[in-house]
């Protein structure tokens, strides 16, 4: 397990490959709603390359992090916008 790290997603621990792309890890965990729009609609990644901000999640308390540009680090606390 040397190449794996544990992060927390919405309070639940998740063991993932070190350096995995956060958006990918969330999708693999079955999450399709990364955030809610201002009118409450479910939204997920659109551009996959850091432009549209639809994949944004809260990382270690910092909101609006683009999960498609974020690599998983040990202990990272991630909240999708429920």
């Amino acid at each position: 397990m040397g190449d794996h790290v544990t992060i927390s997603v919405n309070g639940r621990p998740l063991t993932v490959p070190a350096g995995a792309l956060l958006s990918v890890v969330l999708a693999q965990a079955g999450i399709t709603r990364f955030r809610r729009s201002v009118h409450g609609e479910a939204r997920g990644p659109l551009c996959g390359m850091g432009v549209c901000f639809e994949c944004r999640v809260c990382v270690n308390g910092q909101p609006h992090c683009r999960s498609c540009l974020t690599l998983c680090e040990p202990g990272m606390e991630v909240c999708t916008d429920d």
């Binding site: 709603r33 729009s37 659109l46 390359m49 549209c52 901000f53």
Partner: protein, 452 residues
């Protein structure tokens, strides 16, 4: 009262946020963007003896096209460029986003450890392109992504194996993405290209000695791996409750619905012009105007790759090398590469004609369709306005996190609105990175040679 009490939910608002110290760097040639154009520019400049710094906002070099080492397109070509780049001596700063130009010959960026100011003598803008998204009912559902974006994330492990995928929109990337997604186990149900066969044939013929080769690639190629390719077809509606379940497409004469897990849909590419505009570079017809050495209307600022016209990786490499040599004051050497670039700029011109968007696509955005996804602004909210700035002020479109990168391009297509200038920062940034940013743009010195 400034000491923290028991009420942790009430932060002290009177104290300014901690401002991390701004790091400074200095170089001869600063390259923004580490895709093919940026890497080629950096190699050419560094091999000429210049001190080169390259910035990219991603955690990887190679841009979107060369993202994901093993499974990226152009495997041997990109590996050769990566090796050349490693040996060039250029310094690479990843996860570093260019934000603003606070003073002449200075760029402000946000790096993982805080703000970074870089002094440069020449600047090469290799900011690449993004996919052009056009709004239609249901395009905001999770499961609707750009073909390039889904392919890029599939290369990083996004789960597509066994999933039904419809690829739609326009441009050569549709086929490349479909092929790549198929290689990752996706079941490609359909590739729908909005351009009619007539124009695709013309594009094939324009490629030169092997007319029809592209056509072969499109029809036979996709047929061989079992995915039907339809020209003259486009999506009009996506359906699903909390995520995508099906997409309805049309040829104009006939409409039908395809069940799918993913709709990979974009209408070719849109150059990233925010930084060139911020620096005062002249932009005409959605391209940064450059002279034969790739120098923009601003002295010392060069531009290469997609922002000068969507032309693909080979065009970007040729332009990048020329820009890098010119930026390092090796113009004689740069001239030797003009011939190679000319072949690819002809290809670029034929791309523009072949994949021009049909006017019917303006009708897929219904009045109720959300155009600005950040602020949930509908077409109806926007179309009563006369221009982009009015729409921003009245309807709040383009005021969210993406700063109009998605809806601004859509609005230009839907309403024919003009592109407007950019204000710093060109990406959302932390307060610390913006401390000390002047309120006005620095003055720029026009290029006396002018631009073609």
């Amino acid at each position: 009262m400034t000491e923290s009490g028991n009420n942790a939910a009430a932060p002290d608002v009177s104290a300014p946020p901690a401002v991390p110290e701004t790091r400074r760097m200095d170089c001869d040639v600063l390259v923004v963007g580490a895709g093919p154009a940026g890497l080629a520019a950096a190699c050419a400049a560094a091999e000429s003896g210049a001190r080169v710094v390259v910035l990219d906002q991603s955690p990887w070099a190679g841009g979107q096209i060369w993202r994901g080492e093993e499974s990226a397109p152009g495997g041997s070509q990109q590996r050769a460029w990566r090796r050349r780049f490693r040996e060039s001596g250029a310094r690479l700063c990843l996860r570093t986003t260019a934000l603003a130009a606070p003073r002449r010959n200075v760029l402000l960026a946000e790096a993982p450890d805080g703000p970074l100011e870089i002094d440069w003598r020449s600047l090469v803008l290799a900011t690449g392109a993004r996919e052009l998204f056009l709004p239609f009912p249901g395009w905001t559902l999770p499961g609707v992504l750009g073909p390039g974006g889904l392919h890029a994330m599939a290369r990083s492990g996004w789960p597509v194996a066994g999933r039904k995928v419809v690829v739609a929109g326009s441009g050569p990337l549709l086929l490349a993405a479909a092929h790549g997604l198929k290689a990752h186990g996706a079941r490609i149900r359909l590739i729908a290209e909005q351009a009619p066969w007539r124009r695709l044939l013309g594009f094939g013929a324009s490629l030169g000695r092997h007319p029809g080769k592209l056509l072969q690639g499109l029809s036979l190629g996709s047929g061989l791996w079992g995915a039907p390719y339809r020209a003259g077809a486009w999506p009009v509606r996506a359906q699903g409750a909390d995520r995508l379940e099906s997409v309805t497409l049309t040829t104009g004469a006939r409409s039908w619905t395809e069940p799918c897990d993913y709709l990979a849909c974009a209408f070719h590419l849109e150059p990233n012009l925010e930084l060139p505009l911020l620096l005062g570079c002249r932009v005409e017809e959605d391209r940064v105007r450059v002279d034969s050495f790739q120098e923009t209307s601003v002295v010392g600022v060069f531009c290469a790759g997609e922002p000068t016209g969507i032309g693909g990786a080979d065009c970007a490499l040729a332009e990048g090398e020329i820009a890098g040599l010119a930026a390092a004051e090796r113009r004689d050497q740069a001239k030797a590469l003009f011939g190679r670039r000319a072949a690819w700029t002809r290809f670029r011109d034929s791309l523009r004609v072949a994949f021009a968007l049909r006017p019917e696509l303006r009708l897929i955005t219904t009045p109720e369709t959300i155009v600005c996804r950040c602020e949930d602004v509908t077409r109806r909210d926007m179309e009563s306005q006369d221009h982009w700035r009015a729409a921003k002020l009245q309807a709040r479109c383009g005021m969210g996190a993406c700063q109009g990168r998605v809806c601004g391009a859509a609005a230009r297509f839907l309403f024919g609105w003009e592109r407007e200038g950019t204000r710093p920062p060109v990406f959302p940034a932390s307060v610390g990175s913006l401390a000390g940013l002047p309120h006005t743009n620095p003055t720029v010195r026009p290029n006396p040679q002018g631009c073609p």
